[in-house]
């Protein structure tokens, strides 16, 4: 396989980088600048990282459930994408296997739901 197969990818990188530089640069030049406290805060990241909060930066242990659920469904998606791409090649076997896989994830989901893992309080 020749390296030329990667040329389109290189193009994509170049385009993406150019677009990012262009947008940031243009908004610096032409955008209006109105100072606002909210603009200086961390964007959609939940907890203020600094200065460290009182009590050594504790936050509710319940977040660990969210993180674990995220991993479960994230991994499901990781499997679903390549399966969807190669659906025709895998055929009925792949379909049944994927149903089995989703079934086992659903079992875990049912457990979490019934045992109150989805309730915040």
């Amino acid at each position: 396989m020749s390296l030329s197969a990667y040329v389109p990818i290189l193009f994509l990188f170049a385009l993406a980088a150019a677009f990012a530089l262009f947008s940031v640069g243009v908004s610096q030049i032409v955008g209006p600048k109105r100072a606002n406290r909210a603009k200086l805060e961390a964007y959609e990241c939940g907890i203020e990282p600094s200065p460290e909060p009182v009590g050594g930066g504790r936050f509710p242990v319940r977040f660990f459930l969210v993180a674990m659920l995220f991993i479960v469904f994230d991994i499901e998606i990781i499997f679903l994408y390549p399966w969807a791409v190669s659906f025709n090649a895998l055929g009925l076997f792949g379909f049944v296997e994927m149903l089995l896989f989703i079934g086992t994830v659903l079992i875990a989901y049912a457990y979490v739901w019934r045992r109150g893992g989805l309730d915040w309080d």
Partner: protein, 524 residues
Amino acid sequence: MTTAVDVLAQELQIRLPALDYLAMGPMLVLFGGACLGVLVEAFATRRSRPFLQFWLSLIALVAALVTVVRAANNSPQAFTADTAIAVDGPALFLQGTVIVLGMVALLLMGERRIDKGGPFVARASVPVGGEADRRQARESGSTEVFPLTLFALGGMTLFVAANDLLTMFVALEVFSLPLYLLCALARRRRLISQEAALKYFLLGAFASAFFVFGTALLYGFAGTLRLGGIHTAALGSTANPLLLFGGIALIAVALLFKVAAVPFHVWTPDVYQGAPTPVTAFMAACTKAAAIGALLRVLYVALDRVRWDIEPVIGAVAILTMLVGAVLAVTQTDIKRLLAYSSIANAGYLLVGALAFSREGVSSSLFYLAAYGFTVVAAFAVVALVRDEDGEATHLRRWAGLGRRSPVVAGLFTFLLLAFAGIPLTSGFTSKFAVFSAALGTSGQWQVAMVIAGVVTSMVLAFPYLRVVVMMWLSEPVENGPMVANAGTLTWTALWVGAFATLVLGVYPAPVLDLAHKAAEFLQ
């Protein structure tokens, strides 16, 4: 010009692996049973769960054992799943061993009379010592342990049959992760239990990482993950041998960690002491069998052509393991830690058998694992029985004079300790004899050195065992000493099964030895 899309399209010519469902039956049954267990946990009422979970797990284990026997009768030698799984003699023997030992350990887990509500905590996330903790002490214990045990057993049955490093790694994780959780669930002494789980988890995660690194290096060397491919490449490949030996070293670290061989043993006493006793019994019997099984397969299938290079290293590890395990066992004052160091020393004896690199080496190791498993489960059953008001009385001083108060339990424990010490007419003698004679049969100098170390350490180890025996029978009983708990049939069954197997395998070992010998051929 080949575009990226063409490359992808070429990759997508997928060849579906042929799956032999009978050969994979034990794993499918165990994983299916575990999934059912999770559903029971989700939908059954809290009251009915202990009963349902226990019987569901036991039925799943019986069904898995039946599939092992059927697979052994139908097609004793078969690759399946595109040679990722090898269902051969050692795999089937160890699957059967692990499942039977798992059954006996399950009896200990299901015991609900010694500690009202079972040996496990109801909600492990409740902080220790608070009002909520006192409230949950009266609740019925967690029943998640049963599906977790089934998952662990499923992983172990896959681990001993894995014929490729990636499958082996997945199996390693599948049986390790439930074990980390199980260690944290003790009803009494919860802090030490959680500490044990954390230590086991952190060190186990490191060991897993070593395994993956080693897998990567071996893939770089051989161009394949199959053990058979590594066997071929060991002589034929032109790649840098540094990759091969680096890979072997890293994988050996991970496997020897699970086996609890020195210098990767430091977790063992803490984890064995902290974990709930039924879980300790489960780990000492089943994890050891699974880990030695995988180590045997790697050594015999993938690395037999470089055996001269690895023999000195693993031989030294074996000698060190026996010495450190035996010497440190002498200084222990806690019965669970004593059994942990004895388990380390036994890992050394198992390595002696594994390093014989002969059919006798495999068969004696298989026999040893079965025999040792029964003895150690029964020994931990006794530990679970001897209690005072604070729970298990694990300090050895508290065991003084137990023979006068409860002669039956003390007698059984004496018998088990004599088996550990390798006294004739117990399985400890026959299994050690089998392992040492297999090593001497090869007449290599390392083997001779290992056998000498083995015999010397056996004598050293007899001292701590006999000290406990003397204490139980000849010392004056301590005041307010521990009593044998009023246990249900489950614990007693486990104890008697273990002791009976120890006796039978010591007096009439021929059937099991023959079975192990017939099974001792790895599929290349």
